[in-house]
Amino acid sequence: MMACVTTADDTSSELSLRVNGTAHRLRLDHRTTLLDALREHLGLTGTKKGCDHGQCGACTVLVGGRRVNSCLLLAVMAQGTEITTIEGLARPDGGLHPLQAAFVERDALQCGYCTPGQICSAAAMLGEAAAGWPSAASASLTGPVTLDAAEIRERMSGNLCRCGAYVNILAAIQDVRREAP
């Protein structure tokens, strides 16, 4: 945790955010969420604002490799962390992340608004399952996780798709899971 150099009466801070491998120095009103910092101050508009209340998952990004709703995290709290957005998931050479490629291949979207959140969420979710984190859909709380359709649905339930593209979102994630070593 970085020490913050404000006094109790300052309502903004000079802060440093590390996003997709690049450090950014910003002065931000403390009210600024990470979501608004990304979109309005850093021009990273891939991350979407849906409900702005942590209910829809459109704003999902990775903070220290973990998926979070960036609408509920104040930017000032994200100092000292490594933030990854949909713009940073692709390979350095511009090649698509396997989940991005699978979403294209499976046509796992209609309007696409929830897609960046779905993909960031799925990227972290695959890691959680590989690490053996159980879910409410797990048959065993101690064994390795078998990432079947019910498990994926449960683990992705924080990401809503109003177009109802769930069938193909599930298929895309299953494709990547099967290809994973």
Partner: protein, 285 residues
């Protein structure tokens, strides 16, 4: 949202002093609840004191077989720790699924939606608090309060009190336990009725029972009337039903949620029957 200051104090004592000394100050931890309440104008602090980095982040065994869970442990890590009873169960699903339920209304009728607190109530959790007056430990049942004439206050914590850890004592009996959550949709939703239950049965007789109910009262509800009634009684659906009825006899539902009494009664009876069957089958084999 009202403008606010932000402080990262060097240690818990400084954090407690910062909040104690300023009426508009409040602790900031995960933030998923507080930030949302601030967006809605329900919480209007003028200073956030970030304790995220100050709270213990470890889960440690304590003498006697219990576990001490640092208040800084993320719910996702807690759910993944196999030493913790019920890791992975729905009581811990979703670490950022919080919604505003309490307002300043004098007619506050919100039920407490937490899953984890219900499981903790059944497990006899002890909450460790540091505050301006020093350290203390209190049973979970003394942490939450009923609204009374202060519906804005959900807990008995005073200004500057900081929860530093939750301790789960070793269960006093080798019980089978379960958690059941009934909700409007299959995932990512608050429960309509929640039950945490543990049952110790010997030769068809209940030796000990623990039952906690959720989403039916403004705080997690430990069903002590039912527990007392069941001790020494036959482990049968009839007695489970009688105990649930006794517990719910004084319930005061509102017109639109009266269904919850029948619902939670049926969940309790069914869970206890299932636990009893498992226990009996286990003993026979």
């Amino acid at each position: 949202m009202r403008p606010f200051g932000y402080l990262v104090p060097p240690d818990p004592a400084a954090a407690i002093a910062a909040v104690t000394g300023r009426p508009g100050a409040t602790f900031l931890a995960g933030g998923t609840n507080l930030v949302d309440l601030m967006k809605l104008g329900v919480a209007t602090p003028d200073l956030l004191v970030d304790v995220t980095g100050l709270l213990p982040h470890r889960i440690e065994p304590v003498p006697g077989g219990g576990l001490r869970i640092g208040a800084g442990v993320r719910n996702s890590d807690l759910a993944a720790d196999q030493r913790v009873p019920g890791s992975g169960c729905p009581a811990r699903a979703g670490d950022h699924r919080n919604l505003a339920i309490l307002g300043g209304s004098p007619h506050c009728v919100a039920t407490h939606p937490s899953d984890m607190a219900v499981a903790l109530a059944a497990l006899d959790a002890v909450v460790h608090v540091e505050g301006p007056a020093g350290s203390r430990a209190l049973p979970l049942g003394e942490l939450y309060r009923l609204p009374g004439d202060r519906p804005d206050r959900e807990t008995t914590l005073e200004r500057g009190d900081l929860i530093t850890a939750v301790e789960l004592p070793a269960p006093g009996f080798a019980a089978r336990s379960a958690y059941r959550k009934v909700r409007d949709r299959a995932s990512y939703a608050f429960g309509v009725a929640l039950v945490a239950a543990a049952l110790d049965v010997d030769s068809g007789v209940v030796r000990d029972a623990r039952i906690a109910l959720g989403a039916v009262a403004p705080r997690p509800w430990r069903a002590r009337t039912a527990e007392r009634m069941l001790a020494g009684r036959p482990a049968t659906a009839e007695w489970f039903g009688r105990a649930a009825d006794a517990e719910l006899a004084d319930a005061a539902p509102l017109p639109d949620n009266a269904f919850k009494i029948t619902l939670v009664r049926n969940i309790v009876v069914r869970m206890l029957c299932e636990l009893a069957r498992g226990e009996l089958a286990g003993a026979a084999s």
